[in-house]
């Protein structure tokens, strides 16, 4: 079988000034994942690596660059799944983790569960030795500005996001 990888960087609106960064980010992620596949790596390793690359890229709404909740905090979700065994791992509402996809994989490989959430996921991350990343380090200027704009009296965040997916 010839290896194949496909990645996406989200279906939200991409303004002109962000196009090049988003394009470069998905290309980098795809090439990094494909490099692993070419060296005989597993599909599981390749998708984790590709997603980790985009989590570290502030152009995308994941990891560093995540949008903020109503309190101005980052709350992230992630899932990974192995088509060979149907094993899956996921985390939701995690806050101080740089790469939620790595934590999701640990849920899959180190527990009998599929999904850990919020404080439980936080405790699990600590138990797995995942270093805590201060929430502020995951917040970008762009996500902070978007959050503030959405709090303005005449803003309509739902309307803004209506046709964006």
């Amino acid at each position: 079988m010839k290896p194949v990888i496909v990645v996406h960087g989200g279906a939200g609106r991409i303004f002109k000034e962000r196009e090049e960064g988003c394009r470069a980010g998905v290309v980098r992620a795809a090439l990094q994942g494909y490099s692993l596949l070419k060296q005989g790596g597993s599909a599981l390793d390749a998708v984790e690596e590709a997603v980790r690359s985009m989590e570290d890229d502030p152009h995308f709404n994941a990891g560093c660059g995540s949008v903020l909740n109503e309190k101005g905090e980052v709350e992230m979700d992630a899932i990974i799944m192995d088509g060979k065994s149907l094993d899956s791992g996921a985390v939701s509402a995690v806050k101080c983790v740089a790469n939620p996809i790595k934590l999701a994989r640990l849920v899959m490989e180190k527990t009998k569960h599929i999904l850990l959430t919020e404080s439980g996921a936080h405790l699990f991350a600590q138990a797995m030795g995942i270093p805590e990343t201060p929430g502020e380090k995951l917040i970008t200027k762009r996500s902070l500005e978007r959050w503030k704009k959405n709090l303005e009296p005449d803003s309509n965040p739902e309307e803004f996001q209506k046709d964006l997916g």
Binding site: G10, N69, A78, I79, D82, G83, A90, T117
Partner: protein, 131 residues
């Protein structure tokens, strides 16, 4: 949201999806990404998918698994993705995007939104797009 699907040289498929969610969401809101079958699904017997878009709509139609269901019925990845996205738009008014790889190595990147950044590598050839 970001995501990836892949098939390796042994024919194993996998998917991964990660997100910060919706801007100014309620504290504790969880969308489709963490939900198996909605944010992603992978099964060697068929293929793998990763989704992005309006999470509540994606969860209502269990989008990732729905695409694989259409493929199990004989549709190629592109048609399966379009059919599932059309169903989500018609049935619950939701928009989104998906990436798919089949167990035979066919792939698709499809979306009902105006844009979705994507990239793929197959046979050492890179393809990418936004519109």
């Amino acid at each position: 949201t970001v995501g990836a699907v892949a098939i390796d040289s042994e024919g194993n498929v996998a998917c991964a999806t990660s997100t910060g969610g919706l801007s100014n969401k309620l504290v504790g809101r969880v969308g489709d990404t963490a939900c198996i079958g909605s944010g992603g699904y992978a099964d060697n017997s068929c293929g793998a998918t990763s989704t992005t878009g309006h999470g509540e709509s994606i969860m209502k139609v269990v989008l990732a698994r729905l695409i694989l269901y259409h493929m199990e019925q004989g549709m190629p990845p592109e048609m399966a993705a379009d059919t599932a996205l059309d169903y989500m738009k018609t049935r619950v008014g939701g928009l989104g995007g998906v990436i798919v790889v089949s167990s035979s190595g066919e792939w698709a990147a499809r979306f009902s939104t105006k844009q979705m950044s994507w990239a793929t590598v197959k046979d050492d050839h890179l393809h990418f797009g936004i519109y």
